[in-house]
């Protein structure tokens, strides 16, 4: 199968993630969409690694997974704290700071 198809898939996943971040209102879902974007980038790295015949891209994918895991730790800590003090994880409710 043509490796370029995986690239199209990765662009598609990235777009779904990006649209999700913009339109969804729940902080957890927004965060999941960011994770989807990171994984789309991972897929692109691995595909390019295959196309270019170079292993570095796959190494990047591993690093990204680790970094994404750290991001989950920090992100969920922040979202849970917000949820405990407001009883809501909606990004629209968080509007104390004026625009």
């Amino acid at each position: 199968m043509d490796a370029a198809n995986y690239l199209y898939l990765s662009v598609l996943l990235f777009t779904i993630g990006a649209v999700g971040v913009v339109v969804r209102r729940n902080a957890i879902v927004v965060f999941m969409c960011v994770e989807l974007m990171l994984n789309a980038a991972n897929l692109a790295f691995v595909t390019f690694s295959r196309i270019n015949g170079d292993l570095n891209g796959q190494v990047v994918a591993f690093f990204t997974m680790v970094v994404a895991a750290c991001e989950v730790v920090v992100g969920l800590a922040i979202i849970v704290t917000i949820y405990r003090s407001r009883r809501s994880a909606s990004v629209d409710d968080a509007s104390l700071l004026k625009r």
Partner: protein, 505 residues
Amino acid sequence: MEFSAPVLNYTLLSPMLILLGGALIGVLVEAFMSKALRPITQLSVTLGTLVLALVQVWKVRNEQSVSAAMGSVVIDGPAVLLQASIIIISIISVLLIADTEHFTALAASLPGSDEERHALQTGNQVTEVYPLTLFAVAGMLLFPVSSDLITLFVALEMLSLPLYLMAGLSRRRRLASQESALKYFLLGAFSSAFFLFGAAFLYGYSASITFSGIRDAVVGGGGNDVFLLIGIAFLSVGLLFKVGAVPFHAWSPDVYQGAPTPVTAFMAAATKVAAFGAMLRIYYTSFANAQWSWTPMLTIIAIITMVFGSLVAIAQRDVKRMLAYSSIAHAGFLLTGVIALNKAGLEASLFYLFAYGITTVGAFAIVTLVRDSAGEVTDLNRWKGLGKRSPWVATAFAGFLLSFAGIPLTSGFIGKFSIFSAAYESGARSVVIAGVLSSAIAAFFYIRVIVLMFFTDPVEDGTSVEIPSSLTSITVIFSLIVTIALGVFPAPILNFISNLATFIR
């Protein structure tokens, strides 16, 4: 298959390793030290590590190496200058962070809960902000010296993640502080996803993750230009977000306002140095030969950023938001240094970053001093007549504002003058014209604040100026001296920068 152990040059990496070691010690201190000794121990550990790292940076100032860590880290003149600037800015910011008055006693407790009140009354103040600062500083040191995409991405996250948490630690207005942490985090994670996607396409274009490999591919041509364009565009989104350029600036006023002021000072100054450092390196080395593809885009962004920042700052009634928009405008001025793409532009940017960072920390240090019974007063209307009540503090703040405005005899003037003349030299006329015009607009609102402080009568509403603690005074006095000294005698430091400022490839 043979595996060979990596060869690391520990001397060149030592500033970052020292900071990470110090941060780990800080975590242990947090866990095992008694609560009475904790704050002072944490402060000494943090300051000690920063000073030690600065000494190490000074020792390696004449080294040049692309193989400090198997080609992932490059140490050269600009790297040393940027690292030294970041550490100096961090030291004076840590002196502000040392005032625990700004930080919540227990970040995990609900705002206004009994748990929080109990922690405050028993003096059980957690001090996790110090190790978080050190982790962030280590990431900032790594960011501008990375020379491959993995290191760049890891460093980006290493400097961002602690900052997201630090933004939510304020003692007063905790809901707003947590909100700023959430906004910073979600938008930051969003932009780093763009950054990574751009990195993937640069890898696809060049079949290499190192900056030199990308440069070779750009110089050689032959790759798929669509990949290159997507790569540069998406990678730039991530970098422009970190420096707060329009249209990726939405987070910065909210985060500047919501975060504890010492954290704002640290973040505003040090992040900008680190992010522009990385940006200069990647644009000056890897993308230099693809100038056709990014100069138009970056020129437009720079012009919009300067004009937007300066215009919107006029309408601000809150001093922290005003400084946030002013920092957006300054991001635009600094982008002219990237667009210039010549040695003068690099030197000017390095000078500007250092001068601007120091001035920013000084300005926020003054903001921490103006208080009433409920904490800091950031409403500009209540700063009226500050000059009559406490002339020294108001004069220092006026000095910082004049430097932001770029009035002669301050560091801001030398910075702006050299960065605009470098851009003019390289033929980027439009950006220089926009820069000078928006500097004029910006001068208006800086001077309005000075008029407000000195030429209006004070209102009696309980606003008072705290007597600065000795640590805060050191920060203010140091920043003021540097701001004026760099404006009056810039030659020694300009020569020093000029001798070192060449990227090695």
